[in-house]
């Protein structure tokens, strides 16, 4: 999950913003970009207050990163973002969102669009680190033009109470690979994804691996809509630890074209006694053994 040599182009702690301009990439506060560019106004009717506009116009040979952090108690961070990858550009992005202290009872509300022009690609590694008392809401729309691709990995080992909605529309030959890895220690998570395969030969693979511990409640709705000759697969795996945890996995396949091929696999299990005892026989105590098995589950 590491991206080396990433350049941090947008860093926001609470309401304080630092922007770094680098060659080939236009980075602006979203409010300024809304005034300046028609494309920003196309996606947001009203002028957004906070957030970024990142426009990757030329090929760059390093990943760019954004960092959104909260340090103040009960702070509500509302972010609106637009990322635009120009035609033929191959880009990598590292996104980090986190609470800098425990028990802030803060809120992180992020929404936005990620647009890939023809023949472009974007690899995203997105990390979240919050506390059980934090409220997280994310709404991201991905628009993939012809022959573009996105490889998106979201990892949160401390997700807070999270609602995460992803919508993706894929045109001809566009590809989307999404992986969500979440270890919910004592929080509620609502994870919704919708992939609309509206272009011929478009494809999407969505993988979800989620652990629910203690009193965590996780609901994940993953939907694939095949509007054209396309392929899609959903893979959802849940691991329950603790008697009061709950996971609900809802894979949904909607086929509107007879040539669309959509599949899914979903499973929810608990820690295997055999695996646990095996590790205990190697000298790990029960807690250490569970942690190792969870790490294996999430990385496997």
């Amino acid at each position: 999950m590491v991206m080396k040599n990433a350049k941090n182009v947008y860093h926001q702690i609470d309401e304080i913003v630092k922007i770094l301009q680098i060659k080939g990439v236009k980075v602006l506060a979203i409010s300024e970009a809304w005034e300046k560019y028609r494309i920003v106004r196309k996606y947001f009717e009203k002028k957004p207050k906070n957030g970024f506009f990142i426009w990757v116009k030329k090929q760059i040979n390093f990943p760019i990163s954004t960092c959104l952090e909260i340090s103040k108690e009960k702070f509500k961070q509302e972010i609106t973002n637009l990322t635009l990858i120009e035609k033929g550009i191959r880009a990598k992005a590292l996104m980090i969102c986190s609470a800098l202290k425990k028990n802030l009872k803060c809120a992180h509300l992020a929404k936005g669009f990620i647009i890939l022009r023809r023949n472009s690609s974007l690899e995203i590694k997105h990390f979240h680190n919050w506390n059980a008392s934090d409220q997280i809401q994310m709404n991201y729309n991905f628009l993939l033009e012809k022959n573009s691709s996105v490889n998106y990995t979201f990892k949160s080992l401390n997700p807070g109470n999270v609602e995460f909605n992803t919508f993706a529309e894929l045109k001809t030959y566009a590809k989307f690979e999404k992986k969500v890895i979440m270890d919910s220690k004592n929080s509620n998570a609502n994870l919704n994804s919708t992939f609309t395969l509206s272009g011929k030969h478009s494809s999407a693979i969505s993988t979800l691996k989620v652990v629910a511990r203690n009193k965590s409640k996780v609901i994940a709705l993953n939907k694939l809509i095949g509007k054209e000759q396309s392929r899609g697969h959903l893979e959802c795996q849940g691991l329950l630890i603790g008697k009061e945890a709950k996971i609900e996995l809802i894979p949904s396949l909607i086929v509107e074209n007879r040539k669309a091929l959509l599949t899914h696999e979903a499973s929810i299990g608990k820690i295997s006694e055999a695996e646990l005892n095996y590790l205990r026989s190697r000298g790990l105590n029960e807690r250490e053994a569970i942690e190792l098995l969870v790490t294996g589950f999430l990385s496997g």
């Binding site: 026989s281 190697r282 790990l284 105590n285 250490e288 294996g296 496997g300």
Partner: protein, 235 residues
């Protein structure tokens, strides 16, 4: 080192071990022979403290300490280690990562044909031979005082069998470890020459001898049942 007295063990309410006595001294090799379902693996799991194997009577003492209520990890810390006959697959956990977590001693074993085992997920798509070698590597890393090897030799080709015996001699026996070899094929005994060989039938040791070849000859010629009948002559 290990003393088992009048041991009775139940698994999910069913009695499997019915009054078993066994003593193993320091640096001794003991072989435990027996047909399928005679209780050999149950004894191995009981010695390791796997929770569903309940001691209902008797005791197990290791270096004078009663193990009856001790968790598996505490037994491992005391120096007991078990090579599983059917080890579970651990998805996402590389053998190298597991060794880093468990090793009491840094092991540098260069084993031809098995070099890349450390980079693979533990027991995931391992062949029978790879599983056995992986179990042995883990045991060596644990630096045990008593190693229980459950059917280590079953299904192994002669080359891997020789390799397993070499690893046991050079890395376990040399450091003073005692060995309990559980086998129903006796294939490995020719390479390790046990101090004592026991035959287990219906949850009990029915015969113990210092001459493993004699015991094995009897078993091969007349079957395990014969060992029960010639109890006195085989000692």
């Amino acid at each position: 080192m290990l003393e088992i007295k009048n041991l009775e063990v139940e698994v999910e309410g069913k009695k499997i071990i019915r009054g078993l006595d066994l003593k193993i001294g320091k640096n001794e090799i003991h072989a435990l022979l027996g047909p399928n379902a005679s209780g050999k693996s149950t004894l191995a799991f009981t010695l390791m403290g796997i929770p569903k194997y309940k001691v209902v009577k008797g005791f197990i003492k290791f270096e004078g300490k009663n193990l009856n209520r001790l968790a598996p990890e505490k037994r491992a810390k005391l120096g007991i280690a078990l090579a599983f006959q059917h080890p579970p697959s651990l998805n996402g956990i590389k053998l190298g990562t597991l060794l880093q977590k468990i090793e009491k001693q840094k092991i540098e074993i260069k084993i031809p044909r098995f070099e890349k085992l450390l980079e693979r997920e533990v027991n995931v798509n391992f062949s029978g031979g790879e599983k056995r070698i992986s179990e042995l590597i883990q045991l060596i890393a644990l630096k045990p005082k008593l190693a229980i090897l459950d059917e280590l030799d079953s299904g192994l080709d002669i080359q891997t069998l020789k390799l397993a015996a070499k690893l046991i001699k050079e890395n376990l026996l040399k450091s003073g470890c005692s060995i309990l070899l559980i086998t129903h094929t006796a294939n490995i005994l020719q390479f390790l020459n046990p101090n004592k060989t026991h035959v287990m039938l219906r949850g009990k040791i029915v015969c113990s001898s210092s001459n493993w070849k004699k015991v094995w000859k009897t078993v091969k010629t007349h079957g395990y049942e014969k060992c029960e009948k010639c109890l006195s002559s085989n000692r």
